[in-house]
Symmetry: D3
Subunit: 136 residues, 6 copies
């Protein structure tokens, strides 16, 4: 069993808030992250796969295929986008990094299994001080 | 003559566009950076000062005073904000990193001179691949 | 189950030595880390929590509350301090990164459970080449 | 149980290819990584050990001894070398990062046990976007 | 006058040696960097431009155009290549980072002037400990 | 004219204070940096040289010789030391990063000229947020 990780990056706007709350309530619960005019981040996404090495290639999976898959399924949909308004896999979810990690997992788990490996971890870094990991 | 640099960070949303353009024209000139729903970045701001060392303290300036000044004049106004809509010193300016660097310079040059040093450079990193420097 | 990590930083002096040893014996066992005049590091502390996402907020825990807790319990007691002489939770312990990781765990495990999450890992980086992880 | 990690670095040339394939076939399967004239990387190697803290020293293992061991067993054999042609422990293996991680594990697992700890993980970063982990 | 920098990366093999020298002489002068079987690096290339901001766009130059130009003129010719054997603009030059920086400058200075800016600096990082800068 | 930079690292303890001041006065002027029990840092030292490339070697200077020189003149005297008490070239100087940069310059300027290059800049990073540059 070997583990391989690919990093991809995206820049996006988001806002933490509940529509049931007033702006004041949102500010109380979510602080400056609830700014109605949005803010944003340079997100780093680390996708870790596990499985057996293919003796023919020495690879777990072809990293170009993995990178292409992550870009198609995730990056193209979220890069330079508004996570709350424009990202289909985040519809009706609070735009927290926790929920984003789970949503990315759900988008990737099946296509990655078709590459011949198992999705092990989705890690998203929102800043140099904060990151989230999800293992399914 | 000695040079000292302080890094501060902020997260903000922005959009590159001209109101005179249609969304299609903006997309043609500014690409995905013109997304009408905004996107965002973790910006890094490096402020470099130059001057003589105070023989009493061994400092060019007190870094706590410098950090406090940058936070008051810049970070509090831009962190978790929308650069196009909410940042007074970016009003009526295209929200490019180039213009942002100049605007930050203009906000800081006088208060830094009151700390007893000269502003030498404002550097803003928009991503790990892109940064701008302005020397006045 | 989701995992979230917060990084905090502190700068401190320390020394590796045993009072039962002479300076020569300490030098033999601990090398330059035993310098009687101390040396120091920029430490990075990564605190990882695990638990269920609160559906109300989309958070595992509020990161501001977590940061405040780590600063109160750890950073304020150790930042710009001498680990051997001044840090209550390191009293009577060899000031190694291994022991420091365990001591930080012991300080944090109960207050973090009161935030509604479980402490999963304390990771301390002493330099870009060395780090320690403790999982309880 | 505590975990300690030491980072060491090496620069090496390599090529991904199968001698049974023509250059065209190799290009199709391995892309530009199969360039017959080689390419290279700044590799980062992270070696993680686990075990009990020695109450005498506060250490899991002496990091100087660990660093010396990694340099003797791995770095001296691979740094500024051609992985395909010159590294004994990679003989007859495809020079992928996956295989390299396993080979490094096999070189280190016994000597590390003689330091009084257990090898837990070998992690090799080939670039800032790709890394492999092997846990035995 | 504003300065903007774009980072691009490439992985390549090289060797420092003089054909007039024996392998022993090369080893004496260039050390392990003269290994006849090559070694390699993850190079980072920082290209800095200076000029006036276009008031229409707020840009010095369009960074996508700059990135495309650097990739066409430099990255496609050197990434996953052998610098000594395969890179036309390094023909008959010692493959040192110093010479590489000058050669990259020479390749870029004219096309960058056609973007409407002036090439200010080529910086190449060979490792986390060594880098070269050339200002023409 | 080409510029080459070598990074070296050291870990040291220090304290900012004036012997003429009481501890209370020192605390008022220097804050927690004046802690009488010391604190410390992982310092990064960047030494930049300028000069002409030697056509024989393609080098400005041999980086091994430069690294050896910096280690002999600076790192061996300051690594794992107390800057206030044990570093000869900092005797009778306030242990600020500004003064340290000038002292390192003074130690290096003559021996570097004997390598056949000119010292251009000494840069010292005290933390990820603060650094000082001195150009003589």
């Amino acid at each position: 069993m070997i583990f391989i990780t690919r990093r991809e990056r995206f820049n996006a706007a988001h806002r933490l808030f509940k529509t049931e709350y007033t702006d004041e309530q949102n500010m109380m619960v979510f602080g400056k992250c609830s700014n109605p005019n949005w803010h944003g981040h340079n997100y780093e996404l680390f996708v870790t796969l596990k499985g057996e090495i293919d003796p023919e290639t020495g690879f777990l999976v072809n990293l170009k295929a993995l990178s292409k898959l992550i870009r198609e399924k995730i990056i193209q949909k979220i890069d330079h986008k508004n996570i709350n308004l424009e990202v289909d896999f985040m519809k009706d979810r609070m735009a927290s990094t926790e929920n984003l990690s789970i949503a990315v997992w759900e988008e990737l788990v099946t296509p990655i299994s078709q590459l011949g490996a198992t999705l092990h971890c989705v890690k998203i870094c929102e800043s140099e001080n904060n990151f989230v990991e999800y293992y399914g």
